[in-house]
Symmetry: C2
Subunit: 331 residues, 2 copies
């Protein structure tokens, strides 16, 4: 195991302790619940509370996107494990300003169950909480509603947060999330597993030199396992799935994310981005803006994913809305 | 090899192509020299030109720090190899506004030779170019002037760039760099080698489970090789070298960087930062600001380094000066 940790069972607490100290201008832990990271950059008028979360091990997702005009709180579970209902509920109590809250998280059964229980607890206090499960991993299911959430999360969160910052009500904020999600498609490739801190072992076996296109960030099965192909071929194959699924015809405008899963060098990510740009340009698809880097990882997994968001003026307005967090700033 | 590239000899050109496309609001390649990344956010008044550079494979160093009120150009060499004199010279021609230029780069023999030749070529055109070699790796030599430059680079670059943006002349800009460098100390730990794209092989052998404190980012020898220790012990040992070398007495104020070398998860980096904060607080050293993340890497090397910058009001002014680049924004 090539990790630099102390006790493998303390990683989440110790990471959170370090995170809130390093970014003390932005965030703090909730006093009575150290699994809830809350913004210090509170809006001075009532707004819908934006609460994101999920298992740890995907940093900077989720906690890295708590800040000004973005998430008001992140609820943090153990590694690859949903947070329990209590911190989901505590996050609502901490950020609700009377306009209700929106839970946003990747579509995984454990998260759905726990956030739903948090919402029920909040309902007993008379606070309305709605939920949007992000579904962007095109290979995880042909059925949109059964898809898992991966790096596309950040666009859905951003859109909802912008709508909330604009003063919209809960229904409208939820619509922003759902509309953006419906226009967001991702797919990835894994060249290794990540290493679980508690065991020091990989989650799954992947021989050095092998890769699996379409694999999920927790090792969920992909298209097939092969020897590692040249970057251009990998990008071409991933894009072919995304473009077909998204029914791209060639006049769209898109926001692009080439996302590193943890251990893929930035060098390789930019080489992949280069090919994404070539392919999209060839097809007449216009790149409006791009992000390249480790935005949603799986700890030390080697791999990357590509996300395309099909844009219209409304989605652009949300994604361009100024925000300030440690890991995504728009000015 | 777990890399996602095309031909191993094309990685730098392809990376640069991707980089300038992804960040087209910030930078472009020089038309007649595709190894020079220049800012599109030019100052509208004459200023000292800030030119940084070195070998590739340390992304986001160097190209990631070209932008507004930061570097005006980055000169890009092959992987772990100094750029040749021609692009060093071309960068001067591209950014000089009549006030001269400052070369800033890590103190490695190849870089010194090539940048010096670039400066001589510029001198023939009547353009004054000065150089500052960053020396921050405390374990690389007991003699300050023989030290290598590692992640502390970014603070030295930032200070010089701020002085330039403030309209200072070349001597004063150089003084800002030298003063900040003199107050900057770094040391790292490697848990693996990086992988050379051209060969697909590691630069050096490191067994899974081993680590070497004090190792350089190209595999230069460190203190000793041992089994991986708990993060807190590693941080304690690194800090003991830095604090002793910097003659810290306990009343200083510092800027802290916990820098990932490529493949160390953010989770681990924040766990390390947590310990840095504990140790410094215990010693009465005040943390003014902090950075955590992959600021200067060695591709897919697993490891991290710690940098402390001892602050006074002047260094604070430089490091707090607003800047906007893809990889470091201060507002």
């Amino acid at each position: 195991m090539r990790r630099l940790i102390n006790n493998g069972y303390d990683v989440v607490e110790e990471m959170l302790e370090g995170y809130v100290k390093a970014h003390r201008d932005y965030v703090e832990l909730l006093e009575h619940d150290n699994r809830v990271v809350v913004t210090k950059k509170k809006s001075n008028k009532p707004k819908v509370g934006i609460i994101i979360g999920g298992g740890s091990g995907h940093e900077p997702l989720f906690l890295g996107y708590v800040g000004e005009n973005f998430a008001d709180a992140a609820v943090v579970g153990n590694v690859n494990t949903s947070p329990s209902p209590e911190p989901c509920y505590n996050a609502v109590k901490a950020v609700d300003t009377g306009k209700g809250c929106l839970y946003l998280y990747g579509n995984y059964a454990g998260d759905v169950m726990n956030f739903d229980m948090g919402a029920e607890m909040a309902a007993e206090d008379g606070i309305r909480v709605e939920s949007v499960q992000v579904k962007d991993d095109v290979y995880s299911s042909p059925n949109f509603n059964e898809r898992r959430g991966v790096a596309g999360d950040i666009f859905v969160f951003k859109a909802a947060a912008a709508a909330a910052a604009l003063g919209e009500d809960l229904d409208e904020v939820k619509r922003a999330a759902e509309k953006t999600n419906f226009n967001t498609r991702s797919m990835g490739v894994a060249l290794s597993s990540s290493t679980l801190p508690a065991t020091g072992q990989p989650i799954f076996e992947m021989a050095d030199g092998d890769m699996e296109i379409g694999m999920g960030i927790h090792g969920e099965p992909g298209v097939r396992r092969t020897k590692i192909k040249p970057a251009d071929e990998v990008v071409d194959e991933i894009l072919s799935y995304i473009l077909e699924d998204g029914k791209f015809t060639g006049n769209e405008e898109v926001y692009v994310l080439v996302n590193g899963l943890g251990s893929l060098p930035l060098m390789d990510q930019y080489i992949c981005y280069r090919r994404v740009e070539q392919v999209l340009t060839e097809k007449g698809i216009k790149i409006y803006k791009s992000l390249v880097g480790n935005y949603a990882t799986s700890m030390d997994m080697v791999g990357m994913s590509i996300t395309l968001v099909k844009l219209d003026d409304e989605i652009k307005k949300w994604l361009d809305y100024p925000c300030d967090t440690p890991y995504w700033k728009v000015k």
